[in-house]
């Protein structure tokens, strides 16, 4: 049984990894066709994978309701929201889900008037916290933080029209910060992170890194 649980996944990862890595160096048409077929398969599997997120979300809220955790009542609203949206989605404006998607249905109305305002607003709340943190906590508590805050202030002023009104040099300095020190640091970070990505990929292909398979035997 261990063969099916442990060895086969590692063989699959090894074969697929090696095949796709070498595919890059082979310009022949058959190699292009391989890439085309395999990526299409991957797209379909990724589609299925999105249901896993849905399952964990519903499962967790269901458990909260079942175990009557404090504040479990709010979890009911997750099911109400999802239920109504899915029902109208399946109704598809009277054409039902096995036909093509219709435009301007109740499903779209819910998206426009519930999901869009809620999603857009929840992150705009951070604007307020940003300002309060600026007042109460962003401190030049050491040399590093001082450099950071000075650069931040110049960029903040230099990137809006009012910066030019204060001094014509502010946008120039802001532009220099962005395209010289910022560029250099970001490039080094990018190179470092990419080396990490490549190293992790190599470890996955050779079966050294197995965290993605989950725990257990």
């Amino acid at each position: 049984m261990n063969f099916f649980k442990r060895t086969i996944p590692m063989i699959i990862a090894f074969v697929m990894g090696l095949l796709m890595a070498f595919q890059y160096y082979v310009p022949h048409e058959s190699s292009q066709n391989l890439l085309k077929v395999v990526t299409r398969w991957g797209m379909i599997i990724s589609g299925f994978a999105m249901f896993i997120g849905a399952y964990s979300l519903f499962h967790m809220h269901w458990n909260r309701i079942r175990q009557k955790v404090s504040g479990w009542g709010y979890s009911i609203f997750v099911f109400i929201g999802a239920g109504i949206t899915i029902i109208f989605g399946l109704l598809n404006g009277g054409e039902f889900f096995w036909n093509d998607k219709q435009a301007g249905t109740m499903f779209d109305w819910i998206f426009d008037n519930v999901q869009v305002p809620a999603g857009a607003t929840i992150f705009s709340i951070l604007a307020f916290f940003m300002a309060s943190a600026a007042y109460r906590t962003f401190r030049a508590r050491n040399k590093e933080a001082t450099i950071l805050l000075i650069a931040a202030i110049i960029v903040m002023l230099g990137r809006v029209p009012i910066g030019t009104m204060i001094s014509q040099y502010i946008p120039v300095v802001a532009d220099w910060i962005m395209s010289v020190p910022n560029l250099a640091a970001k490039r080094a970070i990018l190179i470092g992170v990419s080396i990490g990505v490549i190293a992790t990929s190599i470890k996955i292909i050779f079966g050294i890194e197995r965290a993605y398979l989950g725990g257990g035997d």
């Binding site: 589609g47 093509d100 779209d108 600026a134 560029l183």
Partner: protein, 269 residues
């Protein structure tokens, strides 16, 4: 003095709300001179001939809508004004509603029709895999468009078989997907790519611009406002520049004031 630092944060919240609302109500005029990265995107699209193909990937969801939707609208105005064929798509499931709305609304303004002058391909899962698949063949990645119409033989896609045939691609991104577009799209299939991103991602773009991996970039609402100015279609982004300026000044004052008190009252340990 130290008491000043311990005021209720809700008082600060009121300051922020006022700093945003008052400039919106009194409509201060602020000129938004376009910067070079925005101009290079504008010039690229402006240089395209009639019936060229521009691909716009709407990779964001409602949480970044206020920054990226104005960008999308300004770009669409430019493309439709120049009779360029627009291919829309998204790699975020919640991006479909926003993208569809933007394309249809602005398409209607210019009398453009779906399937002939533009096409909205919809959503596919797998980000980098979708880009690779489109690079090999756009019709296997998207066999149907968002409304279930067959893509093969569609007039809006005439002459396009893969990403290699796209004249210009713009990735409107709220997260790390721009990297997939550069690594698996632009570098592998050699097309010109521009990025419009939330301001949070803005500083990350500079290494790519200098290495000429990106042609043009719009950063946040400011980028959108500059593009609106260039297209000559000033809308919400341009109107947002006055409150943006005021609120930036407010935040800078907060930081300076907070630090001033912090240093004058002696740093607490």
């Amino acid at each position: 003095m130290e008491k000043l630092l311990k005021i209720d944060r809700r008082i600060i919240f009121i300051f922020v709300a006022l700093a945003v609302t008052i400039p919106l109500l009194f409509r201060f005029k602020m000129s938004v001179p376009p910067t070079r990265h925005v101009i290079s995107m504008y010039d690229k699209i402006d240089s395209l001939s009639k019936d060229s193909h521009v691909l716009i990937s709407f990779d964001y969801d409602p949480s970044s809508k206020e920054e990226l939707q104005p960008m999308a609208r300004a770009l669409l105005h430019h493309c439709f004004k120049k009779d360029i064929k627009v291919i829309g798509m998204t790699l975020y499931p919640a991006g479909t509603g926003l993208a569809d709305k933007a394309i249809t609304e602005i398409g209607d303004e210019y009398g453009k029709r779906s399937g002939i002058d533009y096409v909205f391909l919809g959503f596919k899962a797998g980000s980098s895999l979708v880009i690779l698949n489109m690079g090999e063949d756009i019709y296997t990645a998207f066999q149907k468009d968002f409304y279930g119409k067959k893509t093969a033989g569609m007039k809006a896609l005439k002459g396009v078989s893969s990403l290699r045939d796209i004249d210009y691609a713009v990735n409107l991104t709220a997260g790390g997907i721009y990297e997939a577009w550069i690594v698996y799209g632009r570098e592998k299939y050699n097309f010109d790519l521009g990025v419009g991103c939330t301001a949070v991602m803005g500083p990350e773009m500079y290494p790519f611009i200098q290495a000429k991996q990106l042609m043009g970039f719009l950063g946040g609402l400011k980028g959108a406002a500059e593009y609106e100015t260039l297209v000559g279609h000033k809308d919400r982004a341009a109107a947002g520049m006055a409150p943006q300026s005021v609120v930036h000044v407010l935040v800078v004052c907060f930081i300076l004031f907070g630090n001033f008190i912090y240093f004058t009252t002696g740093r607490k340990k």
